[in-house]
């Protein structure tokens, strides 16, 4: 199943006070006003590190910049579906669509250690957080499982069982930090969130933690395929993937009937290219690029192009997951608390949603990879229902 894999844990938390009517410290006041947020975004989206960004000091993490996504990224990658309409309709759409462009906080490179059934492994992980002005922040913990460059003596051969075991243990494994304040991913999100709101608000604000979502991006060193209808082809792959997606073991999944296995793999989404896999459920997603596409790319453009394209695909998917989970959490919250939320806030999000990838942007961006994928994912997460409800609020 895995020779090389990128894995990302994503856990959102809601800041209800930011979603309602926040009283922020002066330097963060732009977060509570969409026009000011758009101005902040435009002013800093092409500036370099340390050039006038607002910062927040968090114990154990140091000074963290609230950085808009770089303009090169927002106009080129996944975010272009939000950023390009802004460019086209500068006057009106600006501030409304800017709410879907998050501020990125880099939380540094750390090490995480976990023991699989056969050995202990150490991983380097990149932590970052994305803060949306409507009151959702998502902490991402991104790491790589597989052989590393310049480690020739280290022959890395993880069995499917080892990999599954690691994936279960990693969210609870200790993250080594500089000041010996050791957390695992799950409680780190709480620690970070509480400290973040402490700095942003003038009064003690709270956070609501969401569920963790794990994204697996598998490399194409081997062919992965299975026939979801009959399971007569690639049953072993199907079993391993089903175990991964359901957080179960291969042994458990092997005892399941084809119908039960199909149920676990029901959210298979048709990839754009032959051999591509994209699976999604509430807890995890799995993305496997087409080996045929990568092979053709390697032949015609070289290995560097393969690396660049797969990295782009992975990061685009993470961006997609981040905003999708952010919307899910936020819409769920405003529906449950519609009496407490100012009408203009609801109008803003409603108008914004009408102008984003659900409607206008999706049509204007022909190469938008997740165009066809959003619908089934939105259905799984219940966003589709939330959207209908929000329309009527």
């Amino acid at each position: 199943l895995v020779i090389r894999s990128h894995v990302c844990f994503t856990r959102p938390f809601l800041i209800p006070d930011l979603a309602i009517d926040p009283i922020l410290h002066d330097e963060y006041r732009f977060l509570g006003n969409l026009r000011a947020y758009a101005d902040y975004y435009l002013a800093h989206e092409i500036s370099h590190k340390g050039h006038g960004h607002s910062t927040v000091d968090i114990e154990g993490l140091g000074t963290i910049e609230l950085k808009p996504l770089n303009k090169r990224i927002t106009l080129g990658g996944f975010w272009k579906s939000f950023r390009i309409p802004i460019k086209k309709e500068k006057e009106q759409a600006d501030s409304i669509l800017f709410q879907f462009l998050p501020l990125k906080m880099s939380l540094g490179l750390n090490q995480i250690s976990a023991r699989s059934s056969s050995r202990r492994e150490m991983f380097e992980m990149q932590r970052s957080a994305y803060l949306f002005p409507f009151g959702i922040c998502l902490v991402n913990c991104d790491f790589y499982v597989g052989p590393r460059e310049n480690f020739d003596e280290w022959s890395y051969e993880l069995t499917n069982d080892d990999f599954l075991d690691l994936m279960k243990k990693l969210p609870r494994a200790t993250i080594f930090s500089k000041n010996n304040t050791n957390y695992n991913f799950r409680n780190f999100v709480g620690y970070f969130g509480e400290n973040l709101v402490k700095k942003l608000f003038k009064y003690p604000a709270s956070i609501q933690l969401g569920d963790m979502h794990t994204t697996y991006f598998l490399s194409s060193d081997s062919i992965l395929y299975f026939n979801p209808d009959k399971l007569d082809l690639g049953r072993e792959t199907a079993v391993a993937i089903a175990a991964l997606m359901s957080g179960s073991t291969i042994l458990d999944m092997n005892t399941k009937s084809p119908e039960e296995l199909r149920l676990v793999l029901r959210e298979i989404l048709k990839g754009r290219r032959d051999g591509e896999l994209l699976l999604f459920n509430e807890d995890s997603s799995l993305l496997y690029p087409s080996p045929l596409w990568l092979d053709a790319l390697k032949t015609h453009q070289g290995t560097a192009a393969v690396k660049a394209k797969t990295s782009c695909m992975y990061h685009n998917y993470l961006s997609f997951i981040n905003i999708t989970l952010a919307l899910e959490k936020y819409l769920e919250y405003i529906i449950a608390n519609k009496e407490n939320i100012p009408k203009e806030k609801i109008d803003t999000i409603r108008m914004g949603l009408q102008g984003t990838f659900l409607n206008k942007a999706i049509k204007s961006s022909h190469s938008f990879y997740f165009k066809t994928r959003f619908e089934p994912i939105a259905k799984t997460l219940g966003i589709a229902d939330y959207l209908t409800t929000v329309e009527k609020l």
């Binding site: 081997s222 062919i223 395929y225 026939n227 009959k230 007569d232 082809l233 690639g234 072993e236 032959d274 051999g275 080996p291 045929l292 092979d295």
Partner: protein
């Protein structure tokens, strides 16, 4: 011994050696017939099937054959190869080739089964299956590339057997001629020296 006794003994010796020579000639003939069957019938048939398999796989890999054509032709080829192996002659006389075939055949059989499944699901898996022929990739726990290479090696072995093959009768005649010539030469030199 009397003259009569000597004559009887001589007749018995001539009769015995005649029978032995006849028996020997029969054994050689039988052996040669089997060798001929293997080298002129069985091995060419195997060569043809395996060569066809290699060519078919290459055509499929390069897009020259559809999965339908590949699966159908492979089915027939595997059947042919199986019947040649199970006929048994090769086991006795070409152990080396037999071992290689015994190793290849189950893999060919599995490849055939997979090709049939892919044929049924051709819209989803044909390209991926084809891809496994180009890049030494695993498909259903087997590497089609390796199977093709093994088949190719066996065709090379068979080709070598063709080149080396000589008729035993001719070899015996040549051996007898050489022996006679050697005896004549020795006798000649003995007569000169004495």
């Amino acid at each position: 011994l009397t003259e009569d006794q000597l004559t009887i003994l001589l007749l018995i010796a001539i009769g015995g050696s005649g029978t032995a020579a006849g028996y020997f000639a029969r054994v050689v003939q039988k052996y040669e017939e089997r060798q001929d069957t293997i080298h002129l019938t069985k091995l060419p048939a195997l060569f043809s099937s395996l060569f066809n398999f290699v060519q078919l796989s290459r055509a499929f890999r390069d897009g020259g054959a559809s999965i339908d054509e590949f699966a159908d032709r492979l089915d027939k080829l595997v059947e042919n190869i199986g019947s040649e192996i199970f006929a048994g002659e090769i086991i006795l006389y070409e152990k080396e080739i037999y071992d290689e075939l015994a190793n290849l055949y189950p893999r060919l059989h599995s490849l055939n089964a997979i090709a049939k499944k892919v044929k049924e699901n051709k819209n989803s898996f044909e390209k991926v299956f084809r891809f496994s022929f180009t890049n030494n990739q695993e498909f259903e726990h087997m590497k089609p590339c390796e199977i093709v290479t093994s088949a190719e090696k066996i065709t090379d072995s068979i080709r070598t057997r063709f080149k080396r093959y000589k008729s035993i009768s001719i070899m015996l005649l040549v051996a007898l001629f050489v022996l006679g010539a050697a005896i004549a030469a020795i006798e000649y030199f003995r007569s000169i020296t004495s």
